[in-house]
C-alpha cells in the first residue's frame, strides 16, 4: 500500500491518472533564541523558485520540488525527482511579515522572528 506497490502497479500515464511525485519529509534542525526560531532543512537539488514556505494559522509548511536534469542510460539510481514537504506547528507569536529564508548548498535556512510581545522581558524591581 506504499511505494512497494510499484511492481504491480501499471505506471503508464493515463488521462485520468497522473504520476505523482513521491513525497518525503526533509530532515531539519530547529534552534531558538530570544529573538527568533531558526530552521535548517536539507533539500538537495531543489532550486529557489521551486520552494514554497507558508505560514498560516500556527502552521508552517515548507515544500520543494526537485527535477533532476539527467540524460543517458542509468547505471544505478539511488534518488529521483521528489517532493519535499513538511508541516510544523509554530507559535502564533511568530511575526509572519518578517519571516525570511535563504537557500545555500541545498540547505534551506528559515528565520522566524518572534513578535515583540513574545520576547522575554526583564522586569526591574524598584525599591519603594
Amino acid at each position: 500500500m506504499n511505494k512497494d506497490m510499484e511492481v504491480t502497479k501499471r505506471s503508464e500515464n493515463m488521462v485520468e491518472k497522473q504520476q505523482d511525485l513521491a513525497t518525503v519529509a526533509p530532515v531539519v534542525d530547529i534552534y531558538e533564541n530570544d529573538e527568533e526560531i531558526l530552521l535548517h532543512a536539507d533539500m538537495p537539488g531543489v532550486t529557489k523558485d521551486k520552494i514554497s514556505v507558508n505560514v498560516d494559522n500556527g502552521k508552517l509548511e515548507i515544500s520543494g520540488v526537485r527535477n533532476l536534469q539527467t540524460k543517458g542510460a542509468e547505471s544505478w539510481q539511488e534518488f529521483d525527482d521528489i517532493e519535499y514537504r513538511r508541516v510544523f506547528s509554530v507559535p502564533q507569536t511568530i511575526d509572519v511579515a518578517k519571516v525570511n529564508a535563504e537557500l545555500k548548498d541545498g540547505t534551506l535556512k528559515l528565520h522566524l522572528p518572534k513578535a515583540e510581545v513574545a520576547k522575554p522581558r526583564t522586569i526591574e524591581i524598584r525599591t519603594a
Partner: protein
C-alpha cells in the same frame, strides 16, 4: 478486467495520498527510499562517451568536498560540518554531521584531465569523459 484493476489502482493511490499527508516519512524510514549505499546517495548515468554521476551533498561546501580519480576508480569524500548557530537553544537535530567517503569502480577508464565537477543546490554533478580507448566506435564495413 483492466478497468477494474484501474479502479483498484486509483483506490490505492488515494490511500497513498492520505498516507503521504499524514506520515512524516523521512529518508530511510519508508521502504521505497531506503538508503542503498550510504551517504552520499548517487545516481550514475552512462552517456556512451561519458559517465554522469550526481551525488546528493546538502550543506557541504565546495571546500569540504574531495574528488579523486585514478583510471576507473572514483572516490568522493568530504565532511559535513555542523552549521549550528551560536547562542541558540537546540530543539531538534536530524541533520547529522559526518565525514564520508564513497568509492566507485567505473565500467571504463576515464580521461582524468577532462573531468568536470559542478556543485549546485546541494547536488554534485560530475561529467567523466571516457578514455579514448574505452569510447564506443563505429565500424565501417568494407
Amino acid at each position: 478486467m483492466w478497468t477494474r484493476m484501474n479502479e483498484i489502482d486509483r483506490m490505492f493511490s488515494a490511500m497513498d495520498l492520505l498516507r503521504s499527508i499524514n506520515s512524516d516519512s523521512s529518508y530511510g524510514e519508508s521502504s521505497g527510499w531506503r538508503v542503498v549505499g550510504g551517504f552520499p546517495k548517487t545516481n550514475m548515468y552512462d552517456n556512451g562517451d561519458s559517465f554522469h554521476v550526481i551525488a546528493e551533498v546538502p550543506g557541504v561546501s565546495k571546500e569540504n568536498l574531495n574528488i579523486r580519480i585514478q583510471g576507473n576508480y572514483l572516490e568522493l569524500s568530504g565532511t559535513r560540518k555542523s552549521d549550528a548557530p551560536e547562542g541558540y537553544k537546540t530543539h531538534r537535530v536530524e541533520r547529522n554531521q559526518s565525514t564520508f567517503t564513497r568509492s566507485f569502480t567505473l565500467a571504463a577508464d576515464v580521461d582524468a584531465d577532462k573531468i568536470q565537477a559542478v556543485l549546485k543546490d546541494g547536488l554534485l554533478t560530475l561529467v567523466l569523459p571516457k578514455a579514448e580507448s574505452a569510447k564506443p566506435k563505429q565500424i565501417t564495413i568494407n
